[in-house]
Symmetry: D2
Subunit: 374 residues, 4 copies
């Protein structure tokens, strides 16, 4: 009996141990603090027939002044749920060059394989790095060859990139090292724009953003960007342990997940910058995105008061972006990601109006939305 | 003009300061560690034309041996994303009765208003509490009046409940205080079942579960439950800080979110128990749920090797339930909630087969699934 | 051999399974989301020969308008690392009284046993609840019997408490329901104070604080308090998942952990209010506490520049309170709990001066400290 | 007019921003998800007159097959609270060499400056990398020059290192790529040891550990190590968001925080490996460490039962290491870091005995401790 039992148990537990890796004196795995290699999905709805892609178009590696090998940038982006990135090492600033053998295309080449394996779109780019403003720093995206772009003269450098069909971004226009007091627009940029040599601006870069730059984008029809400009390993700078934490991201509204569609979207200005808990961009796009993210369900309850009928319903946030909603009396609702609250509305109007405090459509303008009841 | 402008600005800043709590010497708000009052959405797909509701059918309040006021149970459930709960205070065990004025319906009455306001379905229930097994403890759900159900004789008590159309659950069959050595099925339950006086079993209760009880449910066509049997405030027992953490939950597949549909679903056995990272229930339901939760996207890349074509694609988990997938070679993939991994499959078969290690369709049987490529 | 092995394995795995709860078909434990019942230590240094105790002197239960059974308040406090609490149910506001059998001492009696078992000092208290200000709400602590304190007339009620040797706190003086526009001091309180019928003020209550009230405490020598005024289960209102999160706490500097020493400390004004990331109180106490919490280690490195010798050393925060340190140039250091940063100081002075931005010694005054190098 | 307007707004916003650091249209900082640059203190008591240092002696950079620039390793270690690290790039495996200009000392040289600035002891090391076992992989620590150590012959390579006074570790002896079935000790290592060319073994490496290797260390007096063997950025492999999470660490008991004392401690075998929630090493050291970490406070309460007097007291864990304590009846206490529980002991014995389930003093032996009451 005992014997049978023990054998039985042996078998049972053995099977179990094979299946689950129990106590083996030769080898034990210990995954307690290990991160599984998974990609987190960032849930943001598609809008107006476009896919909502997530991108970061300003990233460095050890081949300029960054501190990680190029393929790490792909791995980081994949895990965080990004669809597209551009590695944009400095042409002019190469502090590691005594220890590296490379030209300005090397970082791209070393990351390309990983990008194919992980289905991350890797845009070939570079950063034209001229100290003072103007000219300042520019990212050139969708280039063929970074080497001929290097040039003492900023304008000639940009021109060389544009010849390759590049999309040009003015980086961190309000960086205090370049514009310590006021974030100014200079004639230099008016000229670039007039020659179709300037297409976008970083409204947000790293842990900074520049409200006036948002006005420029809207007034001058330039594409808005929120980029990380990451140099360190991403998790050394950002605490991404909470699923709703994220680096500065540029949301791209593209026909599909392809290089060509991303390029088209950028040139057509179909982007929103998402940094911290703020989204910023064109009123039309923000309005669509917020309307697609928030739904006012059908009322589950009614009460009557002084001839009015009040409806109670769930207000759902189906996205990973939080929304701070302010009603006309100044009361605020914090609608966390993938969460809902219960709201009250008048049966006659059957809708709610809010100012979205974390959605900027201008340096001082917040998006206002009307949400009809389903 | 100036005056108007300054007023305007004043107003703007005032709103701003009101909205954002600026420095007012009279009054400051400090929400640093405050939880906003929001409902978290638990993302689990609907299956086979039914809505997937989340429920907990075993809950106590201060009106038996619990430690919170009844409406707290509604608030907790709403925040956690539950759709339906039953308060099931003990008929026979009333340690607080020297300090309370109540009958067996009081807890329900005190929670009902809150349930209506928060759109949580509150099932009227009670726990028939007989120490030893058999008979043990039973929950009677969907009753009209708990008072006449109290009876020294367990069978008469159950009978009184069934007369009211009650659904009867055998609670925690493997609780060591009642069955210390082996979790046994007794003739007593065969008799109950034959008289249609037993409809479900708690496969999971609190931090325990009973594999053999899952076999009973499947063999004898009883409804599976995963319930919390919570007595303390929920957050004192469970660490729910991570959005994927949850109390033991019973998933109900119902026509709609209504009392009637929940009752129908329970009587028809359309449930799955979800406790910790384990789901347990009928093979057909688990198979549908997992298939609806995991999607194998179209291949984004192909490689050829020895005449074989290998396709690479994302395997997405669109639900808040994690899945541990084991292939035929014993390799395991941990597919976290709302995440994806990259997998490889043969172009010929264009599908993947896994044993789902955390999906039990029997005490020792795991669900096996085939996932075709989109 | 095989047989011996399997028996051996059986034994080994059996032992293992006994020790670690492996797969038993009858009973499985599943503690994945369960909170262990432990007390977190709040690490804050003792100062000037006193023990630093952590207290909350404003707490409700179901015996007024709270929502938990009294002993839950002890369990919550113990887990959070508190040493002393007072349950202070309203004398005048008893919304649950149709469902409860109690007098004003019942909550205390029901929590006392648990307090003894968990070594938490339970101060007998009550809340005198008069709507408008003045008189407003008062907590009476260290009373013998709450029943005779109930009285239509606020002053007579306070007087009855003081006859019992009570310590009297004016609660939430800036609560907008009582003082919507300005947080005012009224003659009423001058009179109370003159009759030794007012001893302390809540500078912080729940998620509010009142900068002017801190000035009153300092000018009029009243004891400062930071209390939770908790009604719900604590974790339903506060997110305490991070070890540095906490409810509003009153730090008490007492001879030892005893009722008598706490009473003495309160009457002698030896307290600091700690709410969110802010500490507030008398300059002398804050200065001692911060100096005891922050240490500037001996320099590990020196550099010379223009005849100056710069020393580099670790600045350690040995407490669970974070400190935001601003130097004379306005640069800020965030010194997280149980963390350190590297700072630079001139070898001649061998010390650093900071304004502690989150340490208030007046409505608008921050603590300034000088930290000498070890 | 316009000009006046903007001036007015500027003024108002300026005042506003001065008062509250609020809205500046030129520049906003947004630190929501940013990690402050701080060093976390790992709280572990010193023992027997030695300082308890935390180290990791197996680390890679881009100068072998790692993916970060050398100084990143110092920054990571400093933030995690480590005191000493060794960068140990492979001599024989240099996949990046087409893109780098370096010899085997370059990584050390590039990290040294940062190590001085951050007060992290940087041990010069290298990894001798021979595929099969024996010989396998070895780390040579405290070397002067890595270049002459490179040699086709493993023994000559080790010999060259030892000539420089190196400390030699046998790395990951149970790595399945090298010992797939059984983790074996070979004569090769007996010979090395006899020639004083082997001083320590990695009991834990990355997410693996090898129970038998612990027995070897104890029987043959070799120093135990728990090392990360990190190649990726540390946070890409480990989830360190919880303060008690950590990479595999080697605890060193050294006279002081200096290179010389660390070297002495390693040669004298004064280490403990700490990986996941497990500590492993010599019984004497584990016994001292656990006794110094856990204190049984004086009883705060007594009860009498059948002539016995039971004392109740707090059992405190003053360290960042959790302990799982099992009493003679098999009951387990989880004593989390910086936490306490209440325990009961007999007044006669005035002590408690536990088996520490997560403290290994042999492949299958757990530490047993006796904790006297204070």
């Amino acid at each position: 009996m005992i014997y049978k039992q023990s054998l039985l148990t042996a078998l049972l537990l053995l099977l179990f141990s094979v299946a689950h890796g129990q106590f083996d004196l030769n080898h034990q795995t210990n995954n307690l603090f290990i991160k599984p290699q998974v990609r987190q999905q960032i849930l943001i709805p598609d809008i107006s027939g476009y896919k909502t892609l997530k991108g970061d178009f300003h990233i460095h590696t050890i081949f300029s002044d960054g501190s990680v090998w190029p393929n790490v940038r792909v791995e980081e982006a994949w895990r965080e749920g990004l669809d597209v990135i551009a590695i944009t090492d400095h042409l002019e600033y190469q502090p590691h060059k005594d220890y590296t053998v490379s030209d300005h295309n090397t970082a791209y080449q070393l990351a390309q394989r990983k990008a194919e394996e992980m289905n991350v779109i890797l845009v070939k780019g570079t950063e034209i790095t001229k100290g003072e403003v103007p000219p300042g720093h520019f990212n050139a995206l969708f280039i063929d060859d970074a080497n001929p772009i290097e040039n003492k003269d900023a304008s000639l450098s940009i021109e060389a990139a544009v010849k390759q069909g590049a999309f040009i971004i003015w980086n961190h226009p309000g960086w205090k090292r370049q514009q310590p007091d006021t974030t100014k627009w200079w004639d230099y940029y008016t000229t670039l724009k007039s020659k179709n040599m300037l297409h976008g601006i970083e409204v947000a870069n790293s842990n900074e953003w520049y409200p006036v730059a948002l006005d420029w984008c809207i007034d001058k029809e330039l594409t808005v960007f929120g980029n990380s400009d990451i140099h360190a390993p991403i998790n050394l700078k950002y605490d991404l342990s909470n699923r709703h934490a994220h680096r500065p991201i540029t949301l791209i509204f593209a026909r599909d997940k392809s290089m060509q569609s991303v390029k088209e979207a950028l040139f057509e200005g179909r982007t929103i910058a998402w940094y911290g808990n703020i989204i910023a961009g064109k009123e039309s796009l923000l309005s669509e995105l917020v309307s697609a993210s928030i739904e006012l369900k059908t009322a589950f309850r009614e009460t009557k008061k002084k001839g009015n009928t009040w409806c109670y319903a769930e207000l759902n946030n189906t996205s990973d972006i939080p929304f701070v909603l302010q009603d006309k009396d100044g009361n605020e609702i914090v609608l966390k990601p993938l969460s809902s609250v219960i709201v009250k509305f008048d049966k006659k109007t059957a809708a709610l109006n809010y100012k979205v405090m974390n959605a900027f459509i201008g340096s001082e303008r917040r998006l206002e939305i009307n949400i009809p009841s389903l």
